[in-house]
């Protein structure tokens, strides 16, 4: 992989995406993953890296899972309202 992005960078970019689509579009883990691979390029970002980034977003409390007939990744209630 040429010059890979760090987990932190991917997590930050994911967070921006979740924030910018908040209330408009529900994003699933795979939506975030596809968007990141598109943004950073296949040679710099892969599914495994995205998985780690999602884990970091969720474990840090910056994002949380929601359920609306399916599971999505969104902002925690306090931050979103």
């Amino acid at each position: 992989m040429a010059d890979p992005v760090s987990v932190e960078e991917v997590a930050a970019a994911m967070f921006d995406l979740v924030k910018s689509t908040y209330g408009k579009k529900n994003l699933k883990a795979m939506d975030l993953t596809k968007a990141m691979i598109e943004q950073f390029g296949e040679d710099r970002c892969d599914k495994q890296l995205c998985k780690q980034a999602i884990r970091q977003l969720i474990d840090s409390g910056k994002c949380t899972y929601s359920y609306v007939g399916g599971s999505y990744i969104t902002l925690p209630p306090e931050a979103g309202s």
Binding site: K24, K25, N26, V68, G69, G70
Partner: protein
């Protein structure tokens, strides 16, 4: 207690710690089993050891106080070892045959009947209903309780041609395996959902909502200047999938929700292949607290089956032998246009031959 680090992803406890000594000793070395009386199984190991399982029905909803009673019985009769079955029965695992009668008596005194083995009706697997579910067209526990009160003799006896498995689901989501049961009772919605246009844009995401409809009946629309949806009524078959992704599309309807009855499904491979249950009664009224129409219909189906099926024939095998025309004749159930499929691959359910009994 000092604060220990937060544990995650430990998974379930290893099963071995819960197995009684006789199972650990004879694990994978069972030779055969017998069903000496209703609700009692004896498994005989290659070593000659015998394990007695005593099965009792439960209402699935269990108070922790009742679980503690089961735990006490397990301590008293079987060294603290018990299990549950895939149909919500509790099973006590004994090594001492002489204790079986006393255990059965105690279970009876506590209100838990012993049975559900062999050619019997085992406990009805069911869903949450009004006790805990958002999309329930009817209650689950109440209908099941009403049914089992009537079918009770078939739980505590083994007097049917074959085993009979009944399942109940309170909506088309079917979180119970009702679609492959000898008799299935299914809660149904029968009217187009009511749309809460004022709250819909706040509560729901439109693309997901539109995509949720299996027939494409949901179209974007502007209502009172707000983004909302419109439902093409003629395309809606009341599945409630839209409600699951959007609470503002209200599928539950006190006046028009009801129950339907399906027969002839199975999951086992014994004799014939697994198959889906088929519609026999499209709609019965939602009539709590005892749902007499539904109870009567199921009881009738069990009686007609028991009187006409041959030994080892499950509901599906009996119906296949006699044919659906005779099934409707024997049961006296009206056959209507609702019985004829009109969804994907409906044509495969039409009778495509001249082989008929006249």
């Amino acid at each position: 207690m000092s604060a220990s680090p937060r544990k995650t992803d430990i998974g379930p406890p290893h099963y071995e710690q819960f197995l009684p000594p006789i199972i650990k000793k004879n694990y994978g070395k069972w030779l055969y089993h017998e069903n000496p009386r209703p609700g009692v199984l004896v498994h005989v190991a290659e070593s000659g050891d015998k394990l007695y399982s005593v099965r009792a029905g439960t209402p699935r909803i269990l108070n922790v106080k009742t679980i503690r009673l089961f735990a006490d019985l397990a301590d008293k009769y079987c060294g603290g070892h018990l299990r549950f079955t895939s149909r919500n029965n509790v099973e006590f695992l004994l090594t001492d045959e002489s204790k079986i009668d006393a255990l059965i008596e105690e279970l009876h005194d506590l209100g838990f009947p012993v049975g559900g083995t062999g050619n019997a009706i085992s406990a009805i697997v069911h869903t949450q209903g009004w006790v805990h579910c958002h999309s329930a067209a009817t209650d689950a526990s109440g209908v099941v309780k009403s049914l089992m009160d009537e079918l009770y003799p078939h739980f505590v006896n083994m007097d049917l041609p074959a085993k009979l498995r009944i399942a109940f689901a309170c909506c088309l989501n079917m979180c119970g395996a009702v679609h492959c049961s000898d008799i299935a009772i299914l809660g149904v919605h029968t009217r187009v959902p009511e749309i809460d246009h004022a709250n819909l844009p706040k509560m729901c995401e439109l693309p997901t909502l539109i995509a949720s409809c299996p027939t494409g009946a949901i179209r974007p629309a502007t209502v009172d200047g707000q983004q909302s949806i419109h439902i093409e009524e003629h395309l809606c078959m009341y599945c409630g999938n839209c409600f699951t992704v959007c609470p503002a599309v209200k599928i539950n309807n006190a006046k028009t929700d009801g129950l339907s009855i399906w027969v002839g499904g199975k999951v086992s491979n014994a004799r014939t292949e697994p198959k889906f249950s088929k519609l026999v009664i499209p709609f019965l009224p939602n009539n709590p607290p005892r749902w007499p129409e539904t109870v009567e219909a199921v009881k009738h189906l069990v009686e007609v089956y028991a009187a006409n099926a041959r030994k080892y024939e499950r509901m599906s095998e009996w119906v296949e032998r006699i044919g659906w025309p005779r099934f409707f004749k024997l049961t006296g159930l009206p056959f209507t246009k609702y019985h004829i499929d009109d969804f994907t691959h409906a044509g495969e359910t039409y009778k495509r031959s001249a082989q008929l009994k006249h």
